[in-house]
Amino acid sequence: MKKYRSYILYLLLLISLVGCAEKKLLEKVGLTTLIGYDLGNEDNVKTTAVVRQVNTEFQSQVAIITSENETSQGTRTKINRRSSKKIMAGQLRGVLFGEELARKGVGHYVDTLLKHSEMSGSVLLAVVEGQSKSLLEFEYPDIDDIGDHIYKLLEQNIKGEQMISSTLHEVGHDYYSPGRDIAMPILKKDKELIEISGVALFKNGEMVGKLSAKDSFYVKLIRDNYNTGKLEMMIKGDELPSSLMKNPSDRIDLVFDPIKTKKELKLVNQATPEFDLQINVKARLMEIKPYIDVGKPKNVAKLEKAIGKSLSEELSRVIALSQEADSDVFGFGEYYRSTVRHSDLTQEKWHGLYKEMKVNVHVDFTLLRSGIME
């Protein structure tokens, strides 16, 4: 009895003495859902925060607050001074970098984001063509909550395997990895809409080039394995014997979905270095223009071969483009490190080799089926 009384006493004492932990009441905090970083004057950083607020009419509102300071965390206190609610970043979904800033380097920001226990590893990162401030501040007639909209736009495209994934974790992973560089989607304001316009290529955390949105498929093809995804591509007319077509034309347009791929990479020569890249693609034909009878096995074999060849050409082109920009977004360096013993690979060392790298691409294409009508 005595023992219990003392326990209860102590509990009460603790509660009354300590009060409670710092409260973060949901309705009292302004939840930052999206942050845009831009380059300000004199090396300052200009931060644009999209803050979700809930008003009493059961409606969510979005406030866009911009401030400028020397450090990214410093802007946060400044933003706080302009908001009626305490700004919290625990529900942050996306971080955008202005192109100018990205070209100067995002490494520091990635580092700061990773350091914070408030940030989730699944925050999505992207680059904005032009300034992120102008992208965020524009009043889009069809978009209520721009933070939510951009996050869902990116997420949907990443889930559908149309765009390379760029979560904070993956960007951090690549940033600290000696044999792989960061790649992020590029967003662009297109009149009253926002669209993904391409892929930004980085080297040591600095943006060095970009690929078109369509090329991001090929980047992804080399980086990861596909399970869903959709591809629209074009083969030159002379790749196929004209006998296959009723009305021979100089280009054939094709759409595939869902694509399953399996890739195999081999290091053939350590010194140069030289890779053999073998990719097996299995897909369903969705659309083909002009008409080709895919009911005949012979036609299919020829078509498959032509597509395979065309795909490998495209892949080689994309690899060459990134080599030109000196950005290894594919992770060839990572493969080199894991194959060559005691390579002691550093970023500098790999970038020295990367320029000289040779990749022999070979694509095996298999047509699985073609809809419900032949």
Binding site: Y7, V18, A21, E22, G90, T167, H169, S177, S338
Partner: protein, 370 residues
């Protein structure tokens, strides 16, 4: 043996429960962030270090049981008194008690640090220490039965955390593990030594041994428990190496919690906030078993009852936890403690076994002559 422990049937426990005791005594705060420490030594072969450390625990446990079996029903404190005589034996006992207290303190302080970093940066250290000590005291006064019960429930109720490792697998890069054995042997062995802080806890066997009902099953369950721990550590290490890239892992202080941060369930996000708080249940057996081990030693030296002991013990730990203020001090404590623990846990049992065997041979030889 003159100072062996006589127990009634009721106060003994099943050997089967040793599995839970050993396993939960090992897993505690170390698992939050052991990856980076081992990775610094052994790079992407860190998992080999973990595996080797696991094997080392099996060997040490084997020797411990051998030593204990020589004294059918006695604990380490009694063996000390028997092997080294009263004065030197008691000196060793004091060292062991201090070791247990240090282990207790280090677990407590590290957990408080994690809570303060992830969840409540503004809550005072002393408050967290007081609440944790309160719970430990409540368990301790319930006796060994309750302490073992806490270990049992701690494992059963936290087993669901293991499948959560599947989520980070989505971002896995299996090639990060290659080439295997790139690090040199010294690096890997250094990693094994760094593992000490994380993998200790099974030494509680030294104290709990006399309380086991069916002693012929001890070996089986102790090794099963160690095997389970090794399995968990190795799998966490493998997932971490493939999930983080090299330099990122060396910068991530609590890699396991960062692993959890990627988990998104339909009804909950940011899983690590829940995991950090839930960890209270996981460190509870750690704390309770250490304070109990210290108590078993103390009653050999001075006559003190359990309630009085736990009050004095908690009070001194409480004060100590206020002295250690920041991260650097905590890391310093961890480092020193890890080094001491390495000698207490991995070196000393071998020495004790040799001395005990020699002494026994000598004694029987003497008896034969007489």
């Amino acid at each position: 043996m003159k100072n062996s422990i006589q127990l009634s049937q009721k106060s003994t426990i099943n050997a089967f429960l040793l599995f839970f005791i050993i396993h939960t005594a090992q897993i505690g705060v170390g698992i939050h962030g052991f990856q980076r420490i081992i990775y610094q030594d052994a790079k992407h072969d860190a998992w080999i270090s973990v595996l080797l450390a696991g094997i080392a625990t099996h060997i040490i446990a084997f020797i411990m049981i051998k030593t204990l079996e020589m004294y059918s029903s006695n604990d380490l404190y009694g063996i000390h008194q028997d092997v080294f005589g009263k004065w030197i034996g008691n000196f060793f006992n004091i060292i062991y008690i201090l070791y247990c207290s240090a282990a207790f303190f280090s677990v407590l302080r590290n957990y408080i640090e994690v809570v303060q970093t992830w969840v409540f940066p503004n809550v005072n250290t002393w408050f967290l220490a007081a609440t944790l000590l309160l719970i430990v005291m409540y368990t301790f006064t319930g006796g060994l039965r309750v302490i073992v019960g806490v270990s049992f429930f701690s494992l059963i109720l936290s087993i669901w955390l293991l499948p959560m490792l599947v989520y980070p697998l989505k971002f896995m890069e299996p090639r990060s593990l290659l080439p295997i054995l790139e690090a040199d042997m010294s690096g890997i062995l250094k990693g094994v030594q760094s593992m000490t802080f994380t993998i200790i806890g099974f030494e509680v066997l030294n104290v709990i041994y006399p309380f086991i009902k069916d002693k012929n099953n001890v070996r089986k369950y102790v090794h099963l428990g160690l095997l389970a721990t090794t399995f968990i550590y190795v799998s966490v290490m493998l997932v971490s190496i493939t999930y983080f890239s090299g330099d990122l892992l060396t910068k991530t202080i609590w890699a396991t919690l960062s692993l959890f941060s990627i988990i998104k369930l339909p009804f909950v996000e940011r899983f690590e906030y829940i995991a950090v708080c839930f960890w209270m249940l996981i460190i509870l057996p750690n704390l309770c078993l250490y304070v109990w081990a210290a108590y078993r030693g103390t009653i050999r030296l001075v006559n003190v009852n359990a309630t009085k002991f736990v009050w004095i013990f908690s009070l001194s730990i409480f004060i100590a936890s206020l002295v250690v203020k920041n991260r650097t001090q905590i890391n310093m404590v961890n480092n020193y403690f890890g080094q001491v623990a390495f000698y207490v846990i991995f070196v000393y049992p071998i020495f004790l076994y040799v001395v005990a065997v020699v002494k026994r041979k000598f004694k029987s030889h003497k008896e034969q002559i007489e």
